[in-house]
C-alpha cells in the first residue's frame, strides 16, 4: 500500500513540486498586491498574513527531497538516513508561523485602536504624522 502510493507520487512528482512553488509565489504576489493597493487596514493585515503564508509554503516545498520519507527512524526505515526529508525547514517554518501569528495579532489590535482614534480604517486617511 505504501509502495504504490510512492509509485503514484513519484510519477507526478515534478508537477507537484511545480504546483507547490507556483502556489507559494502566487500567494506572495497576492499578499503583496493586497498590501500595496488595498486601502482598508484589515485587508492590508490579511495581505500580510497571506504573504507570510506564501513564504512558509516555499520553505516546506524546498525542504522536500524526491521520494524522501518523514525524518523519523521508524521500524522498516532504519536505513532511511539518506533519503529522508530535510527536517530543518520544517522546524523553521513552525517558528515562522508562530511569529507571523504574533505579528498579525499585534497588527489587528493596532487596527482596532486606529479605528477608534480616527473613526476610519482607510490607511490613506490616517496621515496625522507626516513630513
Amino acid at each position: 500500500m505504501q509502495e504504490e502510493f510512492n509509485e503514484i507520487f513519484l510519477k507526478y512528482h515534478e508537477i507537484i513540486t511545480l504546483g507547490v512553488y507556483g502556489t507559494a509565489i502566487g500567494l506572495m504576489l497576492i499578499g503583496l498586491y493586497a498590501i500595496l493597493t488595498k486601502k482598508n487596514l484589515v485587508k492590508i493585515v490579511i495581505g500580510l498574513s497571506i504573504f507570510d503564508a506564501g513564504i512558509h509554503l516555499l520553505f516546506v516545498g524546498i525542504g522536500y527531497v524526491k521520494g524522501g520519507t518523514a525524518p523519523i527512524f521508524s521500524p522498516g526505515y532504519e536505513n532511511a538516513g539518506n533519503r529522508m526529508v530535510d527536517p530543518v525547514p520544517q522546524a523553521l517554518v513552525l517558528t515562522a508561523i508562530v511569529i507571523g501569528f504574533a505579528v498579525t495579532a499585534v497588527a489587528l489590535s493596532l487596527v482596532i485602536r486606529l479605528y477608534k482614534h480616527h473613526n476610519t480604517a482607510k490607511i490613506d486617511q490616517i496621515k496625522s504624522l507626516k513630513w
Binding site: L36, K39, I44, K127, S128
Partner: protein
Amino acid sequence: MNIFFLIILIFFSGAILSFIINKIAPKFSGITTFITIAVVVFLFFTQIEINSITQFSLGGIQMQFGVNNYTYIFAILVLGLSLLASLYSIKYMQNNDRLGYFYSNFILTVTGMLGIIFSRDFISFFIFWEIMTWSSYLIVLYNGKHSSKSGMKYMIFSAIGAYAMLTAIVSIKGSYGTFIISDAIQQGAFNFSENIYIPIMLLIGFAVKAALMPLHVWAPNAYSKSPMSFTSIFSGAMSKMGILGMGLVLASVYSQTTNDNTFSVLVLKQVLGWLGGITAVMATIYALIQTDAKKLLAYSSVAQLGYIIVGLSTGTKLGVMAALFLAVIHAVFKGALFMVAGAVEKQVGTTDMTKISGLIRKMPFTFFTALVSIIALAGIPPLGGFVGKWMLYEALITESNNYFLVIVIFFSSTAAFLYSYRFLFGLFLGQEEKETEHVKEAPVTMIIPMVILALILIVTGAYPGILFEPIAHGMHYLGFSDVNWDMSVLVNVWGEESNMAYINLSIGVVFVVVFLFLTIKGYKGTKNVGTKDISTSGEIPTENENLTFQLDFFKPFERAAAPLYKRSMDKIWNDLGNALEAIFDFTRRIYTGNGQTYALFVIIFLVILLIFKNTLFTN
C-alpha cells in the same frame, strides 16, 4: 607639570569656577575671570620660553604645543587685550544676569585663542579654533532674542570656514601623513606646485574669521550685538587669529612656489589683494551711513581687516610687516574704541548717535581715549596708525606694483575720515542734550584699560620700533631674511624714509609754542560758554530751538556714491539661504505619512536593486 597644560588647565578651571561663583556671589564672577587671566599672563611671560616644544598624544594622534616668534606677537596681543577687557568688564557687566554664562564663555574664548597660539599641530589647532568659535557664538547670543539671528549667521559662516579648514587638514593627513604644521610645510603641503586646493581651503577657513569679502557678512552684526567688553577682544584679538593663519599659509605659499606656477601665485595675490581692497571700501562706505556707534565700529573693523589682508597679500617684506603692525595696532585702537562705545552705552544707556551728543564735558577721559584711537584709526601722524598705513602704501607702490589697489585703499582710508569724525561728533561733540545732563564719567576700572590702550597708541606712534622688534623676529620665522628696523625711522626699498623722531619733534615744538600762546594771551578775556550760546547767522537761538544735527549726516556723500550702495553682499547670501530652506522643505515631503507609500518605497528599492544587481554587486 608642563606649563602649557598648566595654563590650559587654569583656564578651564577658571571658566568652571566663574560659572559656579556666579551662583554664590555674582559680584566676584568677573573678578575671578580677571584673576584667572592675570595669572595666566604672569605664567606666560615668566615661564614660557620661545621655541620650546612639548610632545604628547591624544586619541592616537601626535600633538605638539609650543610658542614660536611668529605666534608670540599674537600671544602678546591676545593676552594683553583680554586682560584689559576682563578688567573693563567687571564694572561694565555689573548687574546683568547670566554673568556666569558670560564669563565662563569669555574665558573659554581666550582659552581657544591662546590654544591656537600654542598648538603646533593641526588637530589641536582645530580643536581650539572650534572652542573659540562656539564660545564666542554663545556670547553673541548673550544679548537675548534680537541677537539670535545674527548669532546663527555667525555660527553658520564660522562652520563653513572651520569645515573648509578641516577638509584641508584631513587631506594634508591623507597626502602627507602628518598633522604637525611645520612638517607639513616642509613637505610642501602649501606648495602650489604640489596641490592647489589645500592652501586655498585653509585660506577660506581663515578668511571667515578675518571677515574678508564675501564671507564678512556675519561680522557687523556679531560685533555690534555682543557685549562691548567682549567685542573689544572679539574684533580686536579673535579676528587676528584668521590673520595669523593667513600669514602662515601665505608666507609658505609664496616662499615655496617654484617657477613653473608663479602664475597661480600671482593670481592668488591679485585676488586676495583686490578682495581685501573691496572689503575695505565697501565696509567703509557702509560704516559712514550707520547711526549706531557700535555698528559703525563693527563695519570699520571689517574695513581695517581689509587693509591687513591687502598687506599680507603682497607677500613682500614691507607689506607683511605693515600687515602685522596694523594687526597689532588695530587690536589696540579697536579694542579701545569698543570699550569707549561700551562706556557710553553703560553711562547713557544707548549708543544710537541720533539720540545722544555732546558728551565731551561729561566723559573727558572716554573722549580722550576715543580721540587718540580715532587718530590712530584714521592713520593720521604721529600715532601708530600712520606708521602702518605708511608701510602699507610704500609696500604697494614700491614693492608690489599694484598701483590701482593703492588708489582703492587710499579712497577707503580717506572715506574713513568721514566715519571717524562721525563717531567723535556723534557721541562727544555737538549740542548737549537735556537727556544726557545726568551722565557721569564711567567708573575708574573702565577708564583705566581705555587710557592704557590710548597711551600704548601714543608710545607706539613715537617709537614704532617697540613693535618692530617682535614683528621682525616673527617675520624671520616666516622666512623673510634680514628684516631691518629702526626705533623710529621708516624706510622703504627706494631708500626714502620717514623719520618719526623729526616729525614728533616738529609737532611737539609747534604744539607747545602755539598752545602756550593761545592760552596765555588774553587769558582773562577768555570766557567759556556752553553749546547753547551760539550765533546762528546773527540771531541768538531760543531755548527750545532744535540745534542738533545728527540725522543724514553724510547725505551728500551718500547721494554722490549712490551706485556703490546699490548691491550688498547680505542680500545675495539671504537669497541663497532662502533657496536652501525651500529645498529642505521640499525634501521632507518625501515622507508622505502614508504607510502604503513607504511599503511601496521598499518594494521599488528591492526591485531596483534586483535589476541592477549584476552591475552593483560584483567582485
